[in-house]
Subunit: 344 residues, 2 copies
DNA sequence: TTGAAAGCGCTAACAG
DNA sequence: CTGTTAGCGCTTTCAA
């Protein structure tokens, strides 16, 4: 059973192959007669014709493929998703792309392995990169000459479009909320603080909220590790061994918070009575936590959607308009913060 | 800046295009002289040549692409991942595929939308389908004539390879453990119980454990909904309104359990003192739960790895050897079960 | 408004 | 051991 190709359709419809191609791609704005279109479409349906995108890509230089790169955050770890955030984001990206007739080529990368080869080899029409990706590799990607969207990266380069959130402002809101609840000594717990990463911005937001309230940022109130549950536990340990100096913490990711809670609770520290916590992301996890997390909510689905939209818009327009898209944040109050009881 | 093609390499190396192709694909087992190989490889590197896979696919009918389909479980919901299980699995699939030089084409599907078109259009070399996918669509996929691996499906058809776990046995272990802890009245909570789905097997396992212990399976001890957090909450509600008849529950997915715990705890039902729970999957969530979940552990990473391996093996071998792969399960004891206090 | 013809970049017989 | 020669299935000038 041979695959039906454009020629078969052409024969069936009594037209030429190129005519079929025209009606299928509505190329030079509708220059095909309605009847012909009819006949062709009927033939297509009758034969169950499905175009061969490889052939199409070859001759048209468009692949209808969007490359999604989720860099391995923790080298050596085979899992790219230590964080449910990725799953939620990816879902939204996939969904949006599909709505527009695009498909997704999903990749991780090993430490330092470059993605350029994959992207070029497949001729992707655009690339979405989530999180931090080494600058050199990023630069190499420019040679692809397709739109590249950076999600949650502060790399400033006209060549890349970006989509992110008000990280600094969010962190400030979180910290301020803790301050408003009477906390004076507040820990900052995050994944690694990298150049151009989100955590550095969040740290800045934390600092500025502290300063605005006339509070000092103590060096030993800052905890930085990796974005995963395990680190949360480790941070709890560290917190205790440093002498439990703070009455509250701003944690930059829900996953870490989950670990932190566990680590603290195991040591009979009560949340929020003993330590209040404001978290960040509002993945579905945060409602599952016990206590449910007061956290900075970001619209992950929207982020994914915009990322795709950005790629598609850029792919359509001839010239390169550098675009930055910043999504708003809001504080969701649940049960992990309480007013600090006044002391002597 | 024109893309460098195989011809450029050929010229650079002073050989013909086909020779380049041969050394790049080591086609008819090493019939190229070492020196020529040398020269070609050098030219490849010097020019930074990257093959165009679209062209390659077109002429070789192999795409080095594996299609991964994650059917939308809850229609209308844009998210395919209401369950972290998928993220963990997908990570492992991506990683393994990449190790073998394959790329991943990731898709969801709308309700009833068929995947055949996508798969055919891209010429995927194999397909991995996770979870339940309507039988008719599944059948249509046979026409692709590429290996298809079903993950967690009990569809019996020589045409499909399958990879799964001992669902029935796992459920039995879970239930038996509850029984051993003195529980006589045990609820069964799961997602939708579909033909060929895993839940029906788990239900059978539950039933057989009950029967072996001489316990009746009460109709009102069975709860069935969707595989998500929200349903867990709903099930808790239902449990309470049905009069709180059971002292324990076997829940077929960690996500549901999370919701169930929350729903119960909000109503001042203590876990495990009032109700003991054994869960299923052992996604990383289960340690984050409060109390940490006693659950049936499955090796999700291994599942993903095997799925890819199955596709690749099948793609290589000429004839079709139907393969079934069943991964073992084990009970992980944490804190969500306690011995039933003897009553009257 | 439609068709003929020339590729897109690569692979795979088949010669030599 | 290597080069020649056809395509793979589709798009896209260019003519008609």
């Amino acid at each position: 059973m041979k695959r039906v190709g454009i020629k078969d359709v052409a024969r069936e419809a009594g037209v030429s192959a190129s005519t079929v191609s025209y009606v299928l791609n509505r190329t030079p704005t509708e220059t095909i007669s309605p009847e012909t279109q009819q006949r062709v479409m009927e033939a297509v349906n009758r034969l169950g014709y499905v175009p061969n995108l490889n052939a199409r890509s070859l001759s048209s230089r468009r692949s209808n493929l969007i490359g999604v790169l989720i860099p391995q955050t923790e080298p050596g770890k085979e899992l790219m998703f230590s964080n449910p955030f990725y799953g939620e984001l990816l879902s939204s990206i996939e969904y949006t792309a599909r709505q527009h007739g695009y498909h997704l080529l999903l990749s991780g990368t090993e430490e330092d392995q470059d993605y350029l080869g994959i992207a070029r080899t497949r001729g992707v029409d655009g690339v979405i990169i989530v999180g931090t990706y080494p600058g050199a590799n990023l630069n190499a990607l420019k040679s692809l000459e397709v739109p590249i969207v950076l999600v949650d990266s502060y790399v400033k380069d006209e060549a890349f479009h970006t989509i992110g959130i008000e990280d600094k402002e969010g962190a400030r809101m979180a910290t301020r909320y803790l301050i408003e609840n009477g906390h004076r000594s507040i820990a900052f717990v995050s994944g690694s603080i990298r150049e151009n990463g989100v955590n550095i911005k969040r740290f800045q937001g934390y600092c500025s909220a502290m300063q605005e309230a006339g509070l000092a940022v103590e060096e030993d109130a800052v905890y930085s590790g990796t974005v995963d549950y395990e680190y949360g536990i480790a941070a709890a340990q560290e917190f205790l061994s440093r002498g439990r100096r703070q009455t509250a913490a701003f944690v930059t990711a829900d996953v870490i918070t989950m670990g932190l809670l566990r680590g603290l609770q195991q040591n009979h520290v009560r949340i929020p009575e003993d330590v209040s916590v404001v978290s960040f992301d509002d993945v579905y996890l945060s409602q599952m936590a016990y206590p449910a997390l007061t956290t900075i909510h970001q619209d992950i689905a929207e982020k994914g959607k915009q990322a795709v939209q950005l790629v598609l818009n850029a792919a359509r327009s001839r010239e390169h308009h550098h675009t930055e898209c910043i999504l708003p944040l809001r504080l969701v109050v649940r049960d992990s913060v309480c007013k600090r009881r006044d002391e002597g």
